[in-house]
């Protein structure tokens, strides 16, 4: 446990993470400016999820902290996913 506590992210790694995040942002803007119909939104959401995962793992330190935090985050996101799925089952199959 003390091993986790002592993990210190380097400045360099944080600059790399920022660079990747900005690159992905530019990629989203570029992709959505091409007309691909419904795939635009799908691509934008996919990239946003990748960005969110990077922020969670590196900036929010889930990769280096105790596993309990990671477990809780996954659990909450799973509950949220279930709520989304149930809501859309309702709206998509409404007569």
């Amino acid at each position: 446990m003390s091993e986790h506590k002592n993990h210190i992210s380097t400045y360099k790694s944080q600059i790399v993470v920022l660079f990747v995040l900005i690159l992905l942002t530019v990629l989203t803007v570029t992709i959505t400016s091409v007309h691909l119909g419904p795939f635009n939104t799908a691509a934008a959401m996919l990239i946003a999820s990748v960005k969110a995962t990077i922020v969670l793992l590196y900036f929010m330190h889930l990769k280096f902290d105790e596993k309990i935090y990671r477990f809780m985050v996954i659990l909450v996101l799973a509950i949220y996913a279930v709520v989304i799925i149930i809501t859309f089952f309702d709206y998509l199959y409404r007569p």
Binding site: M1, K5, I8, S9, T10, Y11, Q14, I15, V17, L18, L21, I22, T25, T28, V29, T32, S33, H35, N40, T41, A44, M45, I47, A48, K51, A52, V55, L56, Y58, F59, M60, D65, E66, I68, Y69, M72, V73, V76, L77, Y80, V83, I84, T87, F88, Y91
Partner: protein
């Protein structure tokens, strides 16, 4: 002074402290999560109106604000590293930079909203009421969600402000980093929400 002494001898549990912060963050995720579901359902029901209404939003200003928030997220993460390495001065500089970036974000938001309101687009305006239901829903959600997000920026700014002064007076230091760490987590949450708000409102084509 005496109270300061007492604070240093009381029980300090960084793991539990962070656990509490995460629990709070979960309530925030579900709050915005609910709003994102409302957005998705209305967009599913009014795809054309959402598409056309989104063209009114300025992609450039949205992109600038995205980059500002990403950079501020990095400076906050770096300030934690700096404090862990015992570099108090750099911690304060990085926290100050984060605060400055947050203020720039809010100023941008002010001009963005100002332009919309100038064009008679705001909840309850006569112009908006004359438009279709889908347009009203889009702009209603736009003002509510970005507004709620801006409130979170202000809250984060206050929290990081407290962290700034506690680092300055030494009560948050190398061995007791939790307040700054939790403030950082909150700030990253604000960034996380914006990562989804930006494509959903500004990038519908």
């Amino acid at each position: 002074m005496e109270q300061n002494h007492v604070a240093h001898t009381d029980h300090f549990d960084p793991v539990a402290s962070k656990l509490g912060m995460w629990l709070f963050i979960f309530t925030e995720i579900l709050l915005f999560g609910g709003l994102f579901i409302v957005y998705s359902v209305y967009r599913y029901k009014h795809p054309v109106e959402f598409h056309l209404a989104a063209e009114e939003l300025d992609v450039t200003i949205g992109l600038i604000n995205t980059v500002i928030l990403l950079i501020s997220s990095m400076t906050v993460a770096m300030s934690i590293t700096a404090l862990q390495l015992g570099n108090k001065k750099l911690t304060l500089i990085l926290l100050g930079t984060t605060g400055l970036l947050a203020l720039i974000f809010l100023v941008n938001k002010y001009f963005e909203w100002g332009a919309k309101i100038h064009h008679d687009i705001y909840p309850g305006s006569e112009f908006l009421l004359s438009l279709s239901k889908g347009d009203m829903l889009f702009f209603g959600l736009y003002f509510f969600m970005t507004g709620l997000h801006a409130l979170h920026i202000i809250a984060g700014l206050a929290l990081l402000g407290v962290a700034f002064f506690k680092v300055k007076n030494g009560s948050v230091n190398k061995d007791r980093i939790s307040l700054l760490e939790n403030g950082g987590l909150y700030w990253h949450l604000v960034d996380l929400i914006w990562i989804f708000l930006f494509p959903l409102f500004y990038l519908i084509h």
